[in-house]
Point group: C2
Chain length 204, copies 2
């Protein structure tokens, strides 16, 4: 039987959960055991409430997953619709998207972790993965445009560049910890510098 | 009930499994459902053999995990003990380690995927994570040395550089597929160029 995570233990037996706090605990439990391995019973145990009390907040484990994934996907999708992602040179738009993505990764870390670890075993997971791929596709298209405008190196295939860029920034959710020796602003600045210096056209 | 994965389905009911082939199927099943969510029953189903037949090959699910993780950890640890990781400039040693790591990632992809997704819920997982961290530490130390020798940029904290480098190369297991449009040799060459151009000292 899994031990409770820190946050819910303090709240055990107390009333007053709302959907947001259920979501915050659920995402921790999903990340710790994996979505497939987490039962509503495990969730109830970690929340310190009964299974029927969870059903008061959400109709199913799948719906809880959908709501948790929205906490990552909605802000990630918003980046691509921002004015700054749609105007300017491809290089400027790319930098805006990469910076903003790092910010969302840090602000919504547990939810993005959940998104990045999805296995695609259910329809809800596959829908979320499709939405994530649409976000990735926008970056891949910008890399092509930036190569065409001459700001990005052309000796590497654009799909590979875009995948390695996402690999670099997605790793932030694995190792960044708030309150650690490196601030969120430093992570953003350093990752951007390393990535852009690595992909810039060599002849400028 | 999970459907069988492709490989075992073809073998269903056939005798002749050895420990290696049990391991190859087990790692696929662990990666698909997560280690915690995989029971010996699920493994037996996917192997197309009985639970007792699995116990003929390995004493427990934990031992199966340990053997599978060794398939990733042993070659990763061997890189750091190679002559080329121990002699030459820090920059040369770093490049050797990064290149070799990408090669192991590609050659042992399912096993490295398993390693990278570990959650640390059991002693076997925690031991494997410790061994992985020792490998990471060697790179972190080389980054410091390369900054000291003047080949790597000093405006970014060495831990951040080393984590972003691992983020970049570890992502390869997520998207590289053998037989795809980009060869393993191209992935290695392109990732190395992007990474080294991103971290080299600016004044050369």
């Amino acid at each position: 039987m899994p031990r409770s995570l820190e946050q819910p233990a303090a709240k055990r037996g107390r009333p007053g959960y709302d959907q947001d706090s259920v979501l915050n605990v659920a995402v921790q439990v999903f990340n710790k055991y994996g979505y497939d391995a987490t039962s509503m019973g495990t969730l109830a145990h970690n929340l310190g409430i009964s299974k029927s009390a969870i059903y008061h907040h959400v109709p199913s484990k799948g719906e809880l997953l959908r709501l948790a994934l929205d906490q990552a996907l909605v802000p990630l999708e918003a980046i691509g619709e921002d004015e700054r992602a749609l105007t300017g040179t491809a290089e400027e738009r790319l930098e805006f998207i990469l910076r903003s993505t790092i910010r969302v990764l840090i602000e919504r870390r547990p939810f993005v972790t959940l998104l990045l670890r999805l296995r695609g075993n259910t329809e809800i997971e596959r829908t979320a993965l499709d939405r994530r791929r649409a976000v990735d596709r926008q970056v891949a298209e910008l890399v092509v445009k930036a190569q065409e405008e001459g700001s990005l190196r052309r000796d590497i295939d654009p799909r590979t560049i875009s995948r390695l860029l996402f690999g670099t920034i997605n790793s932030v959710v694995e190792w960044y910890r708030p309150g650690g020796p490196v601030t969120a602003a430093e992570v953003e600045e350093n990752a951007i510098r390393m990535m852009l210096d690595g992909v810039h056209s060599r002849n400028r």
